[in-house]
């Protein structure tokens, strides 16, 4: 396959999409780049500021640099925690989903339900659910003596956000894993049965290797979405208490729209975007390489 030259002319068909992307993303992005090297006093008067915003941002001793570093670490921890819970849980759920009969449909619909709810609504549901006075979760926990207050206690706020994300997105991992499991031919299970393999070794040696491809996709989707999470924590905790759940995009919006600090916000969004872009690229490359190595 490697010795045949690629004919890339079909890419010209992508031009209409590029025009659309130009207006929705590239022109705004160019503006952000312009803002990131200038300062303004309002009235659309800009003056050159060189790399000062970036120097500010990347120096953790400054106010903005400290906030950025803290939000980045916080966001990476959140993504890691969410992945560590959702992946095993999603696989476990997928294994428990029935493979035949009417219960398949029922189970799949139930599991997919949280995925169909708009993000702001998910946030609102959990915001009310977590309240100590009227929320089922908050009131119940406090009445059995567990101190829980997501507006004042950082641990409670984190637990709420993590559990909410798990509730919202484990279904997607489960559906992907289920699709992967369904694609395993029965012959593999029959062979395992003849060999007298235990349930664990069937999982370890048949199901898990066969799931590799869908799991890479699941990791990619879940990581990117959790790394860019905005709506749900913004509705539930608003980034608080204090800065406890201020993830990158929440902090960015606070700086850009709350403080109208264009230069700092522009520098921050470019570095944030660069991190997202390179992680995306690494995941994508690993994914396509795995596929090609399997194919060859």
């Amino acid at each position: 396959m490697l010795d045949k030259p690629w004919n890339n002319r079909a890419w010209f068909f992508v031009i209409p999409v590029l025009v659309f992307v130009l207006f929705s993303s590239i022109i705004p992005m160019m503006t952000v780049v312009n803002y990131s090297v200038q300062d303004t006093m309002g009235q659309n008067n800009f003056f050159w500021n060189g790399a000062a915003w970036f120097q500010n941002l990347l120096d953790p001793t400054t106010d903005i640099g400290g906030r950025f570093a803290a939000a980045l670490v916080r966001n990476l921890i959140f993504s890691l925690v969410v992945l560590c819970i959702e992946l095993p849980l999603g696989i476990a759920v997928a294994i428990c989903i029935p493979r035949h009969g009417w219960r398949v449909g029922a189970a799949l619909v139930l599991i997919a339900l949280p995925l169909l709810i708009p993000w702001t609504v998910v946030g609102t549901i959990w915001q009310i659910f977590a309240r100590q006075d009227i929320g089922l979760l908050g009131a119940a926990l406090n009445s059995v003596g567990i101190h829980y207050n997501d507006t004042q206690d950082p641990t409670s706020a984190w637990a709420t956000i993590v559990v909410m994300d798990v509730w919202h997105w484990t279904g997607m991992v489960a559906l992907l894993a289920y699709a992967g499991l369904k694609a395993i031919p029965d012959a593999f299970y029959q062979a395992a049965r003849i060999d007298g393999a235990s349930r664990w070794s069937v999982f370890r040696n048949i199901e898990l290797p066969k799931l590799q491809k869908v799991l890479v996709i699941a990791v990619l989707l879940r990581f990117m979405e959790s790394f860019m999470i905005y709506t749900e924590p913004s509705v539930v905790t608003g980034g608080g208490p204090g800065e406890a759940t201020s993830f990158l995009s929440l902090d960015l919006v606070k700086i850009a729209l709350g403080q109208v600090d264009l230069g700092n916000a522009a520098a921050m969004s470019l570095v944030y975007n660069l991190i997202t872009l390179s992680l995306c690229w690494i995941f994508f490359t690993v994914m396509t390489q795995l596929e090609q190595r399997k194919g060859s």
Partner: protein, 91 residues
């Protein structure tokens, strides 16, 4: 256009990127290539190498500013040019 707050430096930057993309497109049409496997251990095309160079350049500048404070930005320019040349030659 005033709201976009253009400067000569950023306009030049985007013009250079656009020029690179045009050259890459023309090369892809008139000089089709085969991906090759280099030091990155996976097959790369010219476009991949350009992408790796640009992303790497951005990170070189970020790390430079992070580590030294970024008062002199000519050193990372030299590092980035050397890095990109290495990527195009060996990746």
């Amino acid at each position: 256009m005033a709201w976009m707050a253009w400067t000569w430096a950023t306009a030049g930057f985007f013009a250079a990127i656009a020029l690179m993309l045009i050259v890459m497109t023309l090369l892809a049409v008139y000089r089709p290539e085969t991906p090759r496997r280099g030091i990155l251990q996976f097959p790369t095309t010219r476009g991949d190498r350009l992408f790796v160079s640009l992303i790497g350049t951005a990170f070189i500048f970020i790390l430079w500013i992070r580590i030294t404070g970024g008062d002199n930005l000519w050193y990372p320019v030299v590092i980035a040019v050397l890095y990109s040349a290495a990527m195009f030659r060996f990746a």
